[in-house]
């Protein structure tokens, strides 16, 4: 009796303490892509560059804090479409530093490190001098080589974003939801090889060993034919691809280079039209914004798993 009373009391204590553990104590200092970022308080006015950054904040319920978006890769998908509908667009392409400053942000969140250039939103040190914190999606870091991307690494990035904005419960909920969806994906067991065709015609730009394409292909049970090259994406040679003759081709569907355009190109080119995957139209399609590291990777992997399961290889 006494023991169970103590246990209940302990559990009650734990419950009342849990939110306190999750709370972020400011000033918060963190290392982001080799730059020490210090936050005096949770950011209140955020500019996001690229779709991955915008969608991350929307998924954490932080849409209210976004004062401007730039360089979006496509429409915001469900279930965040409504939250993303009214966001002020600073520029269709990369906004200039002055345009960004006009929005008076205290935090600029870029999907690519190259967004933070003098002819882009501004270099990170110059933003820091103006009291504006900057943050690069860790998987897109180039000045410090990021570790090979994994879903656990991606969840750690979501958790870090939760810490930055002091919304850890929302981050934990999102991570739990994504983990459950990921756990439900059954990797293909047919021993299939694949190439991740992102863009390019004469020299195709394809997913290599260390970034989101490799991570998703591994979860799908696909063997990446460019998995030997330790890089995120590379300009590959058609000869190497034809020589490997992958079973499946993953097509990135971007507004400027659609999956349909790629299918036409592959079918018309005298050499790629010989590939087994092209002859039997064994394609998986992934939207471009979901092909870069972010909160859409899990959903895109689940979607591709369904596409893959529908493909037959008995010819």
């Amino acid at each position: 009796m006494r023991l169970s009373f103590h246990l209940v009391a302990l559990a009650g204590l734990a419950l009342s303490v849990a939110p306190a553990w999750a709370q972020t104590s400011y000033p918060l200092t963190l290392d982001n892509c080799g730059v020490a970022v210090t936050l005096a308080a949770a950011p209140e006015r955020v500019v996001t560059i690229k779709s991955t950054a915008t969608e991350m904040l929307l998924a954490l319920g932080l849409g209210e804090k976004i004062v401007g978006v730039g360089f979006q890769d496509g429409p915001v998908p469900e279930p965040w479409a409504a939250a993303g509908a009214g966001l002020p667009v600073l520029a269709e392409k990369l906004p200039s530093q002055e345009v960004v400053l006009e929005a008076e942000p205290d935090f600029v969140y870029g999907g690519w490190e190259s967004n933070f250039a003098a002819d882009g939103v501004g270099e990170r040190p110059s933003l820091t001098e103006l009291g504006i914190a900057s943050y690069v999606s860790p998987a897109a870091c180039r000045s410090v080589k990021p570790v090979k991307l994994s879903f656990d690494g991606l969840f750690a990035d979501i958790a870090e974003m939760g810490t930055i904005f002091d919304v850890t419960p929302a981050a934990e909920a999102l991570i739990a939801e994504q983990k459950a969806e990921l756990a439900a994906i059954v990797p293909d067991s047919r021993g299939l090889t694949a190439v991740w065709y992102s863009s390019g015609t004469k020299a195709p730009y394809v997913g290599a060993a260390s970034n989101a394409p490799a991570m998703m292909m591994t979860a799908l049970g696909l063997d990446n034919i460019m998995g030997t090259v330790d890089d995120g994406w590379i300009s590959a040679s058609w000869e190497a691809i034809v020589d490997a003759n992958p079973d499946v081709i993953v097509l990135v569907d971007a507004a400027w280079n659609s999956a349909a355009q790629k299918k036409t190109l592959l079918a018309e080119n005298p050499i790629t039209s010989q590939l087994d995957a092209v002859l039997h139209e064994r394609y998986l399609v992934v939207p471009f914004p979901a092909s870069e590291a972010g909160i859409r990777n899990v959903g895109a992997t689940a979607d591709m798993a369904a596409q893959l399961a529908a493909l037959t290889f008995d010819q």
Binding site: D73, K93, S198, S199, G200, T201, K202, A203, Y205, M226, T228, V229, I234, S235, A236, S237, W238, E239, A240, I241, V242, D243, N245, A254, A255, W256, N257, N269, P270, I271, Q274, L275, F288
Partner: protein, 337 residues
């Protein structure tokens, strides 16, 4: 007509070119034995050989490697010829096909078509761009007061700057996502993904435009002594100059349409050849073509093989090799004078 050393030289260069083609097709990311490669090619040529390689390996050899090696040879020969002729016409050792703005114009035309979504019509865009740049250069030369080498060069520089700025603007304005990568690798010059169609364009242009240009070697030798000297030898100086400039423009347009802006080949090959043969154009022009063809085959083989499965734009390699060679050539000229 030809003396012994010249015969030996031309036989040697033809042998080098033939050996380059035969050997270069055996290099590549795919591990195919030289024996299989030659059997495959022999089979396609109708010889009574069965290669027995798989369908895809057959395609790698016949659809990827061989047309690409032939395109490289044609572009190398064409660029070297254009460079030698431009240098003679303008009496400017720094002249090459890019001098009169043709390459920038061709790039602009090609990029315009590429961004407009008509990637398949890109060669047409390059032709139109080169033609427009040529017309603009000629018009400006006329407005400057008539055709002299220096005026043509000045007009060419202006047109080149204009076309380059327009290209940069297009890229800045239109590039979405990572589409700039394709454009940049094309502007640097790359033979990735060349087809038999490209090989047809390049070979046709070199045969139809390049070979007649070879006949001008004798007249170009007269040009070296000045327009008046050439005129007293019975050469219609003005007509011949514009004919040659027009042919150079067309040929450059065809080459840039297929391979992009590959630099330094047109500049250095004629200089290297001059060191060996002297500057008599009857010899210089064909020798430069043959050497340019072999040079381009090997630089492109390096571009597609060294970093497999990656590809490097070949223009990077020609510039890396070309710039130091050009400096050496300049130093030797200085010592010689």
């Amino acid at each position: 007509m030809m003396r012994g050393p010249q015969i030996a030289l031309s036989v040697g260069l033809w042998a080098l070119l033939a050996a380059s083609i035969v050997l270069a097709v055996t290099f590549g990311p795919a591990d195919i034995s030289p024996h299989e490669v030659w059997q495959t090619i022999a089979q396609h040529l109708g010889l009574p050989v069965q290669s027995g390689v798989t369908r895809l390996r057959d395609a790698i050899v016949w659809e990827l490697r061989l047309p690409r090696v032939l395109v490289a040879a044609g572009i190398g020969a064409g660029l070297a010829l254009c460079g030698a002729i431009m240098q003679a016409l303008t009496r400017n050792p720094l002249a090459d096909p890019y001098l009169l703005g043709l390459s920038s114009g061709a790039s602009f035309g090609a990029v315009t078509f590429l961004l407009a979504g008509a990637a398949l019509l890109m060669p047409v865009g390059a032709f139109l761009g080169a033609g427009a740049a040529m017309a603009l250069t000629l018009l400006m030369t006329r407005l400057l007061g008539g055709a002299t080498p220096s005026r043509a060069i000045l007009a060419g520089i202006a047109v080149s700057a204009l076309a380059a700025a327009a290209t940069s603007f297009l890229i800045f304005w239109s590039a979405t996502g990572d589409s700039y990568r394709e454009i940049l690798s094309w502007l640097m010059g790359s033979l990735s993904g060349t087809t038999w169609g490209d090989a047809g364009i390049v070979t046709g242009a070199v045969l139809l435009l390049g070979l007649p240009m070879l006949l001008a070697g004798r007249a170009l030798d007269a040009f070296a002594f000045g327009d008046n000297a050439a005129a007293t030898l019975g050469i219609d100086v003005v007509r011949l100059r514009w004919l040659l400039l027009g042919a150079t423009a067309l040929l450059t347009g065809a080459l840039v349409a297929v391979g992009g802006a590959i630099g330094f080949v047109g500049l250095i090959i004629p200089h290297v050849v001059r060191l060996g043969t002297g500057s008599r154009h009857r010899l210089l022009l064909p020798v430069a073509m043959l050497l340019g063809a072999s040079f381009m085959i090997w630089t492109d083989t390096a571009a597609r093989s060294l970093f497999a499965p990656r590809e490097l734009p070949v223009g990077i390699i020609t510039a890396l090799l070309g710039a130091p060679i050009f400096l050496l050539v300049l130093l030797r000229y200085r010592r010689a004078t």
